[in-house]
Symmetry: C2
Subunit: 374 residues, 2 copies
């Protein structure tokens, strides 16, 4: 049994579940005639990236220049850095653009000028549009500014206006299909409006939209050219709460040894804390926090039966996790047992762990283990 | 200026502030006639560890076996792993104990038996006492169980009963001097009671107590033999909120480039998110969350003037930080500027960053960069 070989906290990867998530999304993209530009910030793994390549994917998104280089060195040459350009990294960006078809995201004229002067090789420029998340992006109604930026981009031979990019991040706050759908419709409407307005002058412009809830739950992507979800490869308790996946779609689980038990209060203590799970949590109906929920190990994975009644993590300190059980579930483990926990936010858990162990016991690489090499 | 050379998020270490924190605590320990066993889980750095050694410290605490080995390899040979023993790591513990005087923490008879049979070299055994934190530890009133464990330890030639160890972690919830003091008095009373009871049979037993609020704010440590704080070397906004330090004692700050600004809502967007800061936060009086607060860079560090009116981080996603300014403070930065932020919880921020840059521009190592070597 794969857990028998483990002694310390590890992030377990169920390859079959993750590959099924990928296959499902690929089928949906084919049906909707939309290209997939998967966001690799979730898995951050060359090995997992290769599954996508074998499925015919040749374009990706990442969140920073170090991650771009990590994947470039594994043969990925069409890379969008889906964060606003950090102009302090102009030399790094120029170097990356020598080897990759780089897509960059901008929102102001000054950044366009700095890129225009600093980049010798061709770079694709996306205008980031705020479809309601209020994190970053241009107000889609501010046509004056958008016109000005598009003209400015055209001014520089190394820059090509590629299109409009948006992230409907506010869908992560949704708790029902209808909410996700309403947010998605609004995003599509905003982006279609922009597309229509600029299509005559820029016939090759594209619309890039990225969020896992819409990609997971919906089937109509209107005039979107590429979808940019990341989390769907693993999913997690947060996506389950939104309704973007089923419990059995969640493809990673934290393995944590039980290091103490407290029969008086039906609690276990795990070696597994904030530096392993990250501190994202769900608020339960009764007001308590949930930092992860237990699943039952099987020979080659885990079972999510009775998930809603399973013990859950009520608190995390640096390396401790506190688990609240009932009188019944308390009997399920004792010190020395290895237990399995679905994470609340798999992107952050994977980043914190910096590596995976598959359910067949193989280690899988993660960019985090290479951050200091950059 | 040290920030000029930086392009990406980095954790800045102010050596002078950190060394002053160390000197202050060392002076206090001398005065109170208590030994310091600093908890290295906060800085996790061999270079910073050497400051302690140069100050005459020869014993440390860590949270896991990997960290124990990292410091052992730098010459530390008296190491307490201040987490409940994970019996799945018995082989690793046995190996560590061949090279170091290892202190282990236990709470149940089964673990004593496993250690007793598995450890060939001498190991010190601490009984963990719950002084009210309700995370881990034996109920100090359960003398029957404590007697049983002490007898059990004595049964094994490789195990030596070293004494009682406690962590008054509930002091982190305190928000006033009186609360920290009350928690500390209660801890001292519990531990003194146990010391008196077992002293006759175990004249060499020690009391080990660890929490930064008490170590930082109080001067009376009663019959405590060793203090085990960790966070005091850096402090952070959480300790400032408790009253355990002054703003100018905080010795680390996150450097984050501004990557976007939103004049309409007086917000900046930083490259600096959950994977850099961690997601611990403070709840402000008006209900908003604070994930970090801005300080003003100086030639060789930073100034905390007007800290309470400074912009603060209201939200973090994976790599973005959202900063709320006023109309006035909004003018302080624009895209491309490098800004500085005091972290809420420096232990987690240091762990997330896995390295430091000093205010003179030198890189300082962190165990996280070596986790995958173990």
């Amino acid at each position: 049994m794969y857990l028998d070989m483990l002694a310390r906290p590890e992030l377990i990867l169920d390859e079959a579940r993750a590959k099924a998530n990928l296959d499902h999304l690929l089928a949906k993209c084919r049906k909707a005639d939309v290209r997939l530009r998967p966001h690799f910030k979730t898995h951050q793994s060359r090995a997992i990236g290769r599954w996508f390549r074998e499925a015919g994917i040749d374009r990706i998104a990442v969140t920073n220049t170090g991650m771009a280089r990590y994947f470039l060195e594994d043969g990925w040459t069409d890379i969008t850095i889906a964060m606003p350009v950090n102009v302090r990294e102009i030399a790094t960006l120029a170097d990356l653009s020598r080897h990759a078809q780089l897509g960059l995201m901008i929102m102001d004229a000054n950044t366009v000028d700095i890129l225009g002067s600093g980049m010798a090789d061709p770079v694709s420029i996306w205008l980031k549009i705020d479809v309601g998340t209020r994190r970053t992006g241009l107000d889609p109604r501010d046509i004056g500014l958008i016109d000005q930026l598009v003209d400015r981009i055209a001014h520089y031979p190394s820059l090509t206006f590629r299109g409009f990019l948006a992230h409907a991040g506010h869908s992560y706050g949704a708790r029902a299909f209808r909410e996700v759908e309403a947010i998605h419709r609004e995003s599509l409407s905003i982006l279609s409006g922009l597309r229509s307005r600029y299509m005559a002058a820029w016939p090759h412009l594209e619309i890039s939209l990225g969020d896992t809830p819409a990609a997971g739950m919906l089937w109509d992507f209107g005039q979107v050219d590429e979808l940019r979800p990341g989390n769907f490869i693993f999913y997690d308790l947060m996506q389950l709460g939104i309704g973007a996946c089923q419990a059995d779609d969640i493809a990673v689980a934290m393995a944590c040894p039980v290091i103490a038990v407290h029969p008086d209060r039906h609690q276990w203590v795990l070696h597994g804390g904030a530096i392993h799970f990250s501190k994202d949590h769900l608020q339960l109906a009764d007001g308590r926090k949930c930092f992860g929920r237990m699943v039952m190990p099987t020979q080659d994975g885990w079972s999510t039966d009775s998930l809603e009644h399973a013990p859950f993590l009520t608190g995390l300190s640096q390396e401790h996790g506190i688990v609240q059980c009932t009188a019944d579930t308390f009997q399920l483990a004792r010190p020395g047992d290895m237990t399995l926990w679905l994470p609340v936010h798999s992107c952050l858990t994977a980043d914190a762990m910096g590596g995976y162990v598959t359910t067949s016991g193989e280690r899988v690489d993660h960019y985090r283990a290479h951050v200091n090499e950059q």
